[in-house]
Amino acid sequence: MTFFTVCHPAVTALYVLLLSLTVSVAFHPLLSLLSFCGGALFYTLCGGKKRMHVYACLFIAAMTLLNPLFSRKGTTVLLVLNGNPVTAESLFFGAFSAVTVLAVLYWVSAFGRFLTSDRLLYLFGAVSPKAGLVFSIALRYLPLLGRRAAAVREAAKANGLYGDGNWIDRFRSEVQVFSAVTTYALEKGVLTADSMEARGIGVGRRTSYTPFRFRRADGALLAFVLVAAAVPLTLSFTGGIAFTFYPVLTTPADGLAVWGAVLTYGALCAAPAILYGREELKWKRLRSAA
């Protein structure tokens, strides 16, 4: 039981939305770096895969090295490659964009484990019940298809009908598996539709069951999120923290605005890890006391 497992889905969704939105709107390297660090930390605390960090490093390296090959902007020439300049600004922008993308990726996948399909259904149900239903069915069906395909493959292997001697054999066998899975999906679709109709879907107005309660803690968190995101968002919309990458890296003249944005956004990025860490500490203390 951690903070976000009991947190109201709307607050959780708003949190991840504002975290990602701010970093993509502000387009400031300092904010992106904060977001990246906070996101990676929270992702690790939530039990994310360590392999993700390796991929992240590779992605940053690749983007940094590849961006100058496609973007010849900037004035600080480091190398001349086939007559075209490789500039420091271009390298920096490559690293920056990779860090920004990864930050959003970390936040979405970390918060994703708290935004389960029932919560998403609840969130979307408020806007459009039909869209919410389709969305949740789709979310369930994609992994289901994968599981079904694995089952078919296993069955074929057990019966000696799956040839994996070389890639042509395997391709042929996979086509058969795909055919079986497609037939299954079509049949299952008809069955599901019949089943839903038999249970009276679309008959009259639907009521919904909401197991989520908006607690006082949720209200406090919502207020914090709104305030902490409003500062950097307002500053980036008014251009107070507009960072320019080309032709020369230029930090905005208003240092106060930048520090304001960095502090508030930093708090926003650190909060999930702190909330999570507090729960962990409490749990450990309770365990050692027992």
């Binding site: 010849r72 902007k73 900037g74 004035t75 020439v77 480091l78 190398l79 001349v80 490659l81 086939n82 007559g83 075209n84 300049p85 500039t87 080309y246 032709p247 020369v248 230029t250």
Partner: protein
């Protein structure tokens, strides 16, 4: 009534159009017609001023100077620019010799007119040799070769078809004509020269187009025709009546008439706009024909009253200059190689590290190694086939004098429209002030920009793979779209915006190239230059 009147008007219009059209085609293949063409060009260029007043401005092209040198004009105002170029000491072997010749044309003498002949005497190229011979024809003397030796050298360059070219096995009209201009004074004295010139004149006769014009550098153009006219008149061949140069009643003047514009000036391509080089060369050609009637040659000047130019024009020791270039070239190559080697070694170390990582983490499937191998091969291949230079090696290098230079062109890079509004845009709007460069045959505006970039130390960013696909995205860090979605770099050649990719637009002697930054696809550029 109204109908009759309009009909009458249309008829009148048609008639007058026909009359002027006829006048432009006929009646010029006479000495009077040639005089008329020259007079109209001069009237246009002087913009109604007195010719002497125009010459006093000092901004007069070399073709006009060579032609007017034979008249009763004072060209001393024009000598400053020539002297400045000579004193600076750069430029190709050919352009320096041409400048020395210009100095004589302006009525001045200076020791450099002799000294310039010995610069790179053994590697002056065919163009250098042509202008060297012109200088010798004007009484200058070289220390390292005689007129006879130089003449033999030019005769040795003759191709099997009897003409001359910069490269290849087939004679080029322009180059053949220019060689003839230089050899002309020796015709009748030197039997080898006489025979060679006779053969070359016959060759030129066969190269004349049915409309009377000549083709060179890819297509028919008035410049080639003009060069032939200068060659023939220097040799004493009457290009208006000689049977070899009258094709079905059409003479060179009829060939030129196709490029003549309403104001008497000339364009480079049929249907084109005013071209300064074409107009200048046609003027020189017309004057050359008129001079021939007086027994004079365009490039042989009256040396009876040469004044000594009281300046020390000796360039900063050319020997040391060549020495430093030969020294720095291998040094630069070595450093570029080492940079590439460093990158290759770094890639190798990374690959080795990845292999070790795969082995240690027990990922020993062949697929891992195949993927790694493919990535490594791509990186190594890219590095191996790339030119990688440090900025220090790449920039600040003046291109060596070109052996096959066909002339000089001027290039400048400006950003007046956004001057001072970006860290990449200088406040005075000048990224590269006008400078002259040698141009070899087939060299394009993009080649020229690259040379200027290396000399001027500003980076040029481009996209494309050559062959008409190259697009310049940024110069000196000032990029397209930096000032709105209509902003970017455009270029003009002789003031005319060209509608082809910059690596397809080939250059000709005397072209003036300007790269300018626009905020609205060129609409703001005329405003700035005006």
């Amino acid at each position: 009534m109204k109908k009759t009147l309009s009909l009458l008007l249309v008829c009148l219009l048609f008639l007058s159009y026909n009359l002027t059209g006829a006048a432009a085609v006929d009646g010029e293949s006479t000495v009077g017609g040639v005089q008329g063409v020259a007079d109209e060009i001069l009237a246009f260029e002087t913009r109604g001023q007195d010719v002497q007043t125009w010459l006093s401005t000092g901004e007069v092209g070399s073709g006009y100077l060579f032609a007017l040198a034979h008249g009763e004009y004072d060209l001393s105002a024009c000598v400053d620019a020539v002297a400045a170029r000579l004193a600076k000491g750069d430029g190709s072997a050919a352009s320096r010799r041409k400048d020395a010749l210009l100095l004589l044309a302006c009525g001045f003498d200076n020791p450099i007119c002799d000294a310039v002949l010995d610069e790179n005497a053994d590697a002056q190229g065919i163009m250098g040799e042509i202008f060297s011979l012109h200088l010798l024809n004007n009484g200058r003397r070289a220390a390292s070769f005689t007129q006879a030796e130089l003449t033999d050298r030019l005769l040795d360059r003759r191709l099997s078809d009897g003409g001359w070219a910069l490269a290849g096995e087939h004679a080029d009209v322009d180059v053949t004509a220019m060689v003839l201009q230089a050899l002309a004074p020796q015709v009748g004295e030197n039997p080898a020269v006489t025979a060679a010139c006779d053969a070359a004149v016959s060759l030129l006769g066969t190269r004349q187009n049915p409309n009377g014009g000549f083709s060179g550098f890819g297509g028919e153009n008035p410049e080639s025709t003009a060069q032939v006219m200068i060659a023939l008149s220097s040799l004493g061949v009457d290009c208006l009546t000689d049977a070899r140069f009258v094709k079905d009643g059409k003479t060179v003047m009829d060939g030129l008439a196709l490029y003549r514009l309403a104001d008497g000036t000339f364009c480079h391509e049929a249907g084109g706009a005013y071209n300064a080089t074409a107009t200048e060369q046609v003027f020189a050609a017309c004057e050359s024909v008129l001079l021939a009637a007086q027994g004079k040659r365009l490039y042989v000047f009256d040396d009876s009253d040469l004044r000594v130019l009281p300046m020390d024009l000796a360039p900063a020791s050319t020997e040391t200059a060549t020495e430093t270039t030969t020294e720095t070239a291998p040094d630069g190559a070595r450093r570029a190689l080492s940079l590439k080697a460093v990158l290759l070694i770094a890639a190798g170390v990374l690959t080795a590290a990845a292999v070790v990582f795969l082995l240690v983490t027990k990922r020993r499937g062949w697929k891992h190694f195949l993927a790694l191998g493919l990535v490594a091969a791509a990186v190594f291949g890219f590095l191996a086939f790339s030119h990688i230079d440090t900025p220090a090696d790449y920039f600040g290098v003046s291109p060596a004098a070109k052996e096959n230079a066909v002339g000089t062109v001027t290039i400048s890079v400006r950003c007046d429209t956004v001057a001072g509004q970006s860290p990449a845009a200088p406040a005075d709007g000048v990224i590269f002030a006008p400078q002259q460069f040698d141009v070899a045959e087939g060299e394009t505006v993009f080649d020229l920009l690259t040379e200027a970039s290396r000399r001027g130390g500003f980076a040029v960013a481009s996209r494309g793979v050559g062959g008409g696909t190259t697009y310049v995205t940024g110069i000196n860090g000032l990029d397209e779209f930096a000032f709105g979605e209509l902003s970017g770099w455009m270029y003009t050649v002789n003031g005319v915006s060209v509608d082809v990719a910059c690596d397809r637009c080939t250059l000709h002697d005397g072209d003036v190239v300007v790269w300018a930054y626009t905020r609205s696809i060129g609409a703001d550029l005329t405003e700035v230059s005006a």
